[in-house]
Amino acid sequence: MWTIVRIELFKIFRKPRTYIAFGAVAAIVWLIQLGFYADGETYVQFGMQALSETFEVQGSVLNGYLMAYIILQALLVHVPLLIALVSGDMVSGEAGMGTLRLLASRPVSRTRLLLGKFLASSVYTVALLLWMALWTLFFSLWIFGVDDLVIMKSEVVTQILQSDVMWRYAAAFGFATIAMVTVSSLAFLLSLFAENSIGPIIATMSIVIVFTILNSLGLPLFDAVKPWLFTTHMLGWKGFFDVQVGAGNEQVVGSVENLPAVMRSAGILIAHIVLFLTLSVAVFRRKDILS
């Protein structure tokens, strides 16, 4: 299995299209950082206007942790497209090139071949998220410095001590990895039905967009299905930044306000991965390779 994964990774990282995603992430993050470096204080002051009238705010609100949170919030919605770019090409791209028959006629079982491809696309997904973590978190900390993380929501302001933040980012990236592997496994499944990668990429994004729209619509008709759509749970990483508050209204260090809900979201995403992968194996094992 490791041989197949290594071969697939070698092929992935020799393709120019692989680096589009890495380039895009670096460019977007850098642009956001540049924008905030130039005008960030004004932006933060505007956001803190109401708060400043009641509280005295000390220290740097616009710090690396806040930047990372803002960037992740903006970026993770669009990352599925970058993931689908590679995962949607894993089988369909080979079929289009005519190399799928070359692989499938080798003395490797189809299940192992497919699982090897899936693992390689998952490694790519993890690599992309690590790259994103490097740019969003570490470069932001380097440029904007370190202080407590203050997150402003519509009715709530959460302040997380700087000593209590880093593990939350690690957990958030872990959760985001599960969410992105879910998208990757969907694109992977769809790539079995096509002979060029455009179809699976567009189909994956269409499903993500349609499900996201269903989530945002407040119509009772869709309420029953919403909890089971993977898109409902993809932003579950934000749960790691909701902190429990003690009896004296002080935050409980190391706590997550609703950990069971976060874990349930992760569980539903993992169930989707297992479902998509099982379907992929079942389809591929029976597939006539005519390309």
Binding site: I4, K11, R14, R106, I289
Partner: protein, 308 residues
């Protein structure tokens, strides 16, 4: 010309069929390839050659029938069998963004080949050592074909399956591939199954061949027998073909009868026997409308091609 044969056929295909809905791509095909054969697999385009080859490589699941390679059931011993088979299916499509050597390395590892010298040897065999580190997308059609064959040979298989290996090549390229097949057959003792739609090409390399049409076997045998100038194939057209066939099947001419994919009455016999056949038909009171001779297998093959 060919190495001595070991006991038992290398490929045994029995009553193999593949249907796509109502379309019969392969219909009850049986064939046998012996060890050391260069086996010509002939048929016009769309006759079912590639579908059969894909079934031999487990790319397509047969609708019915059985395939045994090296004496083992293909579906039960898939990995074990495929480790001993190399193939180029239709065009030799490879990873254009990788070099020739990288393509070979990938396919060698997938085939379980750990011999580092194998890649250099096979590059030498197909004459691509000088261009091994160039991207495949810069290769000519002939070079791609040779690299495809190198990929099929890199794990030193006993059986090599080549699907239309000379398609799109210039005369020199065709000659190179032909010489390579003959050399590997003679010197390395490899068994080849080579598909083609050109009988003239198969005449030059094959020792045994099968011709298929519309997914069914037309004829199979030793080339020297099938291509014997004394051998005569005749088609018989009568007022009642069904009755005529029954009469012939019950007569001494029964061994000469051959299956015909188009349902015609066909006999294969020696040229000198044709007058006796005509006399016998008259004696058996078969009402003959026409008796059409095909002087050589090539004429017969051409008749199939033109009919298609």
């Amino acid at each position: 010309m060919h190495p001595a044969r070991a006991s038992g056929p290398l490929i045994e295909v029995s009553d193999l069929s593949k249907y796509y809905g109502g379309l019969r791509a392969v219909d009850g095909l049986s064939l046998t390839v012996q060890q050391g054969d260069v086996y010509g697999f002939l048929g016009q385009n769309g006759a079912g050659k590639s579908t059969t080859i894909r079934m031999l490589l487990t790319l397509i699941r047969p609708t019915s029938g059985s395939i045994r390679l090296f004496g083992m059931d293909l579906l039960r011993h898939r990995s074990e069998i495929l480790a001993r088979v190399g193939a180029v299916i239709e065009k030799p499509d490879l990873y254009g963004y990788l070099t020739g050597r990288e393509n070979l390395r990938i396919l060698a590892r997938l085939s379980g080949c750990r011999d580092k010298g194998a890649i250099e040897r096979v590059l030498e065999t197909v004459g691509l050592s000088a261009r091994a580190d160039d991207k495949v997308r810069t290769y000519s059609q002939g070079m791609r074909q040779r690299l495809g064959i190198a990929c099929a040979l890199v794990h030193d298989p006993e059986l090599v399956i080549l699907d239309e290996p000379t398609n799109g090549l210039d005369p020199q390229g065709i000659a190179d591939i032909r010489n390579l097949i003959l050399r590997l057959s003679r010197e390395a003792g490899k068994t080849f199954l080579v598909s083609s739609h050109l009988l003239s090409e198969m005449e030059l390399i094959a020792n045994r061949m099968v011709i298929i049409d519309k997914g069914r076997k037309v004829v199979e045998g030793e080339c020297r027998t099938l291509l014997d100038p004394e051998r005569q194939v005749v088609h018989l057209e009568t007022i009642d073909d069904g009755q005529a066939l029954s009469i012939l099947a019950a007569s001494r001419w029964a061994p000469y009868l051959e299956d015909d994919p188009q349902g015609r009455i066909r006999l294969a016999l020696n040229r000198s026997e044709v007058p006796q056949l005509v006399r016998a038909l008259a004696e058996m009171e078969v009402q003959v409308l026409a008796l059409r001779p095909f002087n050589r297998l090539e004429d017969y093959f051409l008749s199939l091609t033109q009919a298609g």
